[in-house]
């Protein structure tokens, strides 16, 4: 349900109904007077009544008021716990099923009467949406130069940064909007003559080095001559990692166009590369000199990385910035031609690097290859001499041992190219110069505001446009800061066609509606659920829907925590040097994508027989036969790996730890909140918490047994801890383990609050799969909130339950759920 969940609910209830303390309980409405009351008197009131009031819940005082949304939500939470078998505890009499059914029916009726009630919060575009909208509205590239890079972070609710309730407007943000709008228009507009393309190659036709290509160390501290002395090897030989290691790395890249792109535009690149000598490093070089330096795995194919490299900064402390364009696994001893067209902003360049090469000291490298004397010579050279003579000294040793390397036989660059002039962005912004100003402005505003504009609405902007020759541009900037652009104006009740087009597009693409959606909206057809559903299918089939998969999994599974509490680089070197972190995020995205595209049952989130790994993840998981670090393979998961589903995925296991060690409580709360939608109460603020004193306890398990011997702790921890204990079999980056570092064996067994016992993570997953509804309801709720851009409310419950029932029916799957949300009232109404 909502972010607050049961814990928050109960707190809110206690806070909001002080009257309960003084007044006599109101008589429950007739609907609940009969069997349901008996149910509570028989099974609940002894603990949740005047004597004990456990969890600060007094069911004898909980009133039945169908108009009181908060009270209803508490009833719902009570019902959920009963239906999950968590309450009443084992030693109390079982509740009468008819009474439970009665309560369920009454609640559904009360919620149905409330549906659509309650305040709605005006939602604004968040940063991602604003950036993508600028990109598509103006036809500009924002991947490398992001006009929103200085925006303050958006407020997130449970990790979701696109919910109306969490998004505020401020002068910090609005002043950034002003700058971003201006910057984006600068990027879109092309004044001056069309630039002529130029072509460079590493060597020109006469075999003379073209100075526009540089072969240099990764940090641009100087230019190293990397040219191979043997012509048959091609001009350039990359054999060192370029900057994966932390510290004093020697790095190598091949960098295009020394001065960077002379104009923003499309540039064509062509590289002919060859991977040689894989696996030929002596064992001494396979072990990194420092634990946090990248290790070479000889079984992995050589990885070529292409980076966009930003113009060098003006400040001495501004480090260089680069963005990975692409990584490729190279087959051994095969010449590969790579042809790419990239958009480069002014001053940007492209770099080539050998991503999984040896990372360490050059002299150590040469010595290990057998060149002790040459290593000594290298050590004695000055920096400048080294730069000039590095290859000359090193190369013979590379050849002698046929050491791992990537040869670049040819490289060329040409550009800037413009398929049309002026470029599409210029046209998108200025429109047809022959048309009247009002018309040009209206065309732009219609797309920007995602609905037609009236002359009155356009008034303030048109006046700006008419003021001066620069006026049109100023008016366009104003439109990009205007309330109709920044906010989703959705009216009340059922959404109209235009609001539906925007909602759908921002849900699945995180950007503004395309021409087809706008045309359907104009024709009044999107209010037809069948048309809306077909459009959702079209958007899902488009590559732009990767934005939905990436954003949703990141928010839902709390991956931000991997950055906020990153694994310790010394204890978990492979996480950083082996790039396990980003690989793990990719794994979870690919997994989600497959369930979505294949309409797989929701239960596969909790137990699947396959996943997606690259070589780094495969090593972490103990899966053999995957040797590509760039490309991911879909692999079957043998049962003994106990990896199936989200709870075996490294990103989930890392995000639910703290980067140093694991905690059954943190992981347990994580599963309750993120997967089951039942966030436990925070420790009560009005009860002094005894200062934790866990000395004398041997294992983490015993520490928590002590904890749970305190009754007020046990109320929640009996739900939290079992989940966490089962996950103790995975360390803080998701590796399987049977014992802690201390040597104490891990005991992953436990008992669920409903009495089910299990011996390990597989047992826990089976217990969770026995009733997939709580998981499904949580996922449906989070998807619906993401889709509608608002927190769900108690009154949304019946619609949510309907979606859950449909999505958990035999044969139904994730795709059905997403499409079901789109046609539900949650999506089609405000």
């Amino acid at each position: 349900m909502s972010a607050a969940g049961l814990g928050g609910l109960l707190l809110a209830l206690v806070a909001a109904t002080p009257r309960g303390a003084q007044e006599e309980p109101r008589e429950p409405a007739a609907a609940l007077a009969g069997s349901a009351r008996t149910l509570f008197e028989a099974s609940c009131v002894r603990c949740h009544g005047p004597e004990k009031a456990k969890a600060r819940l007094r069911l004898d005082r909980l009133t039945w008021d169908p108009a009181d949304e908060q009270a209803l939500e508490t009833w719902q939470a009570v019902l959920d716990r009963i239906q999950a078998g968590e309450m009443p505890p084992e030693d109390e009499p079982r509740p009468d099923p008819a009474a439970v059914a009665h309560l369920e029916r009454d609640l559904a009726a009360a919620f149905a009467a409330l549906a659509g009630e309650g305040p709605r919060v005006l939602r604004r575009l968040n940063r991602t949406q604003y950036r993508n909208t600028l990109r598509d509205l103006l036809a500009i590239d924002v991947a490398l130069e992001d006009p929103t890079s200085s925006f303050p972070p958006d407020g997130a609710i449970d990790g979701f940064d696109g919910l109306a309730e969490g998004l505020v407007m401020s002068d910090f943000l609005l002043s950034q909007h002003l700058l971003a709008a201006r910057r984006a228009l600068d990027m879109a507009l092309f004044t001056g003559p069309r630039p002529e393309p130029r072509t460079y190659a590493l060597y020109d036709a006469e075999g003379v080095r073209d100075g526009n290509f540089t072969v240099s160390d990764g940090r641009l501290r100087g230019h190293w001559n990397l040219e191979s002395p043997r012509p048959e090897d091609g001009p350039v030989c990359l054999f060192l990692n370029d900057e994966r290691a932390i510290g004093e790395t020697l790095g190598q890249t091949l960098t295009t166009s020394r001065g960077g792109a002379p104009f923003p535009g499309w540039y064509d690149f062509r590289f002919e590369v060859e991977s040689k000598g894989r696996g030929n490093l002596p064992p001494k070089l396979l072990r990194p000199l420092k634990p946090e330096w990248q290790q070479v795995h000889p079984e992995d194919l050589h990885r070529l990385e292409l980076y966009f490299s930003a113009p060098a900064g003006t400040s001495p402390v501004t480090g260089r910035r680069r963005i990975l364009a692409e990584a490729l696994d190279l087959a051994d001893d095969e010449r590969v031609v790579i042809e790419r067209r990239y958009w480069l902003p002014r001053g940007w360049r492209l770099e080539l690097a050998f991503g999984n090469a040896y990372a360490g000291h050059l002299d150590y490298y040469v010595a290990a290859l057998g060149g002790e004397e040459d290593a000594l010579k290298l050590r004695q050279l000055t920096r400048a001499e080294r730069s000039a003579r590095m290859i000359e000294i090193t190369y013979p040793w590379i050849l002698r041992s046929d050491a791992p390397r990537i040869l670049v036989h040819a490289a060329s660059e040409s550009g800037p190219h413009y398929p049309s002039w002026p470029p599409p962005s210029h046209v998108a912004v200025l429109g047809d110069p022959a048309a009247p100003l009002a018309e040009r402005l209206a065309t732009f505003a219609t797309r920007a505001f995602r609905r037609p504009v009236t002359p009155e609405e356009l008034g303030p902007h048109l006046r700006l446009a008419e003021e001066s020759p620069e006026g049109l541009r100023t008016a366009l900037e104003a439109i990009l800061c205007a309330p109709r652009f920044l906010y989703f104006l959705e009216g009340e009740g059922a959404l109209d066609d235009w609001a539906l087009a925007a909602r759908l597009s921002y849900f699945l693409w995180s950007t503004l509606p395309d021409a087809e959606l706008l045309a359907l909206a104009a024709a009044g057809r999107l209010v037809d659920p069948a048309v809306l559903r077909a459009q959702a299918e079209r958007l899902l089939a488009d590559p732009r829907s990767s934005e939905f998969v990436a954003q949703f999994t990141w928010s839902w599974l709390g991956f931000q925590n991997m950055l906020d509490m990153a694994p310790d680089p010394v204890r978990f070197p492979e996480f950083h040097a082996g790039q396990v972190g980003s690989a793990a995020v990719t794994e979870s995205r690919l997994f989600f994508r497959e369930l979505l595209d294949g309409n797989r049952p929701l239960s596969e989130f909790l137990g699947a027989d396959h996943t997606f790994v690259n070589s780094a993840l495969a090593r972490l998981y103990g899966i053999e036969g995957v040797h590509t670090s760039a490309r991911f393979e879909r692999v079957a998961l043998p049962a003994e790996l106990r990896r199936g589903g989200l709870l075996g995925q490294a990103a989930v296991l890392t995000a639910s730890a703290n980067g140093v060690d694991t905690s059954p409580v943190v992981r347990g709360v994580w599963v309750l909140e993120r997967l089951l939608g039942m966030p436990p109460d925070p420790p009560p603020p009005d009860i002094p918490i005894p200062e934790p004193d866990t000395r004398g306890a041997k294992s983490i398990r015993e520490i928590f047994e002590q904890h749970r011997s305190i009754e007020s702790c046990n109320e929640c921890h009996r739900s939290i801890d079992p989940l966490g204990f089962a996950l103790e079999s995975f360390d803080a980056i998701g590796r399987w383990r049977v014992a802690y570092e201390s040597g104490v064996a891990i005991d992953p067994s436990g008992q669920m609050p409903n009495g089910t016992t299990f011996t390990d993570i597989e047992g826990l997953k089976r217990a969770m799969l026995a009733d997939v509804k709580p998981f499904a309801r949580n996922l449906a709720g989070r998807l619906a909130a993401y889709a509608a851009g608002r927190e769900l409310r108690p009154a949304d419950r019946p619609e949510l339950d309907r979606l859950v029932a449909a999505a958990t029916a035999p044969g139904a799957g994730l795709r059905d759920l997403v499409l079901g949300i789109v046609t539900s009232r949650l999506f089609r109404e405000r």
């Binding site: 709605r120 910090f172 201006r182 501004t318 609405e457 104003a478 905690s663 004193d693 000395r695």
Partner: protein
């Protein structure tokens, strides 16, 4: 640090490495009256409290014995006051530490006339126009809230902060900003007109949200008016050694190096008079100190276990050692009126959490250094006064003579200052 006479001008320049563009250096020119040094506030906050028995002295008064976390500051004892049993009376563990500088929870801002306005943002309101940055919020942005309840965004890395403080925009970038400023007035007028026309058609709650937009327009206008005067003034030249240290932490991820780099940056920001209101908030991090393998957050959940306490026993004195080094450097800088930089800068060190192990928000660790306060004591308030009383005293010392600040009931008795 002993120079009591106004220094030779060259000495100042050499010591600061700053350019003549600084307003107060101009006052060194002959026949000008020496202006009193500007007043400033710098807050340095940690997220998980400090171990109480290591931080809070056992006895009150001037003759206290400093425990292990306070000991690194002992050489500066005359220049600071340490407080005990002073807090905001709020609860909520991590969820309440954001009240450190306001005493008011975000969720309770409606109950206070000034919302949850924080101390630093009030100072920024008053002193803001005098410097390029009305306020600086650094590292973690969890402690600063404006009058309208918006969290002031933080600059997340020392390198980015350095760029904003000391690296002038290129000519192109200046032209860009000037053009943006020039057109901003009419743009804001147009979008305000659009919003006004839009308003009547909206429902009640949508109108309430749109009020945020109107407020933002108004405040943006003020912000832009202030930035007009700074655009074409060159930024100060930073002192080279500290700048080099900031540069050195460009690739650091460990808390230890970052804290040192940030404190260098804070020093540079103050000595260059780039701001008069600054908050540096340490996030959860891995420290990278010898003997420390736990992350900062988990180690504060020590459960009295020796293997965690022994690591905190390294981290907490490390933090106060860095603080002491920072304070000593402020004390070394002499300003034209003869006062040290520490004399004119209040430095508040503390946390919105008291005991990290039990997540209390009471008996906060608090050290106030600098300013013209009569320091040198351990002031045990025994819960007699809210922390906002200390903040009111601090505001008065800064020359902001408000009658109250959020939950204050008066100034803090026992802490006096001389009028400079």
């Amino acid at each position: 640090m002993t120079a009591l006479h106004p220094p030779h001008r060259r000495t100042v320049l050499r010591g600061l490495g700053v350019t003549l563009a600084l307003p107060w250096l101009e006052s060194l020119l002959p026949r000008r009256r020496v202006e009193p040094s500007p007043r400033r506030l710098a807050v340095i906050a940690v997220p998980f409290g400090m171990v109480e028995e290591w931080f809070h002295p056992a006895t009150a008064g001037r003759d206290y014995v400093a425990g292990p976390s306070l000991a690194p500051l002992d050489a500066l004892r005359a220049r600071f006051t340490v407080f005990s049993n002073l807090d905001h009376g709020v609860r909520g563990g991590h969820a309440a530490t954001h009240t450190f500088l306001s005493g008011v929870k975000v969720s309770e801002r409606a109950t206070n006339p000034e919302g949850n306005l924080t101390l630093d943002q009030l100072v920024a309101e008053r002193f803001g126009p005098s410097t390029r940055f009305p306020s600086l919020v650094l590292w973690e942005g969890d402690l600063s809230y404006t009058r309208s309840g918006v969290r002031a965004p933080a600059i997340p890395t020392p390198v980015e902060a350095f760029r904003q403080l000391f690296v002038d925009e290129s000519a192109d970038e200046k032209r860009f900003l000037q053009a943006a400023l020039d057109s901003s007035t009419s743009i804001l007028d147009a979008v305000r007109a659009e919003a006004r026309a839009l308003e009547p058609a909206l429902g009640r709650t949508d109108r309430e949200k749109l009020a945020e937009y109107f407020t933002s327009i108004r405040e943006t206008e003020q912000r832009l008016a202030a930035s007009r005067q700074w655009l074409h003034r060159p930024r100060p030249e930073p002192e080279a050694p500290a700048a080099a240290r900031v540069a050195a932490c460009a690739e650091q991820t460990y808390g230890a190096e970052l804290l040192a780099g940030w404190l260098d940056l804070v020093y540079l920001a103050l000595v260059s008079d780039s701001t008069r209101s600054l908050v540096l908030s340490v996030p959860s991090c891995n420290w990278g100190l010898e003997g420390v393998s736990e992350g900062y957050h988990p180690m504060t959940h020590h459960g009295q276990r020796e293997e965690r306490l022994s690591q905190l026993r390294i981290v907490e004195p490390f933090v106060t050692t860095q603080l002491a080094r920072f304070l000593a450097r402020l004390e070394e800088v002499r300003q034209p009126d003869g006062a040290s930089l520490l004399d004119s800068t209040q430095v508040l060190f503390g946390s919105g959490m008291g005991n990290g192990n039990s997540h209390t928000n009471s008996n906060l660790p608090l050290v106030l250094a600098g300013g013209r306060f009569r320091h040198g004591q351990h002031l045990d308030l025994e819960g007699r006064a809210p922390l906002c009383n200390l903040f009111l005293s601090m505001l008065h010392e800064l020359g902001i003579e408000h009658e109250r600040f959020n939950r204050s009931t008066g100034t803090l008795s026992g802490l006096e200052f001389g009028r400079g």
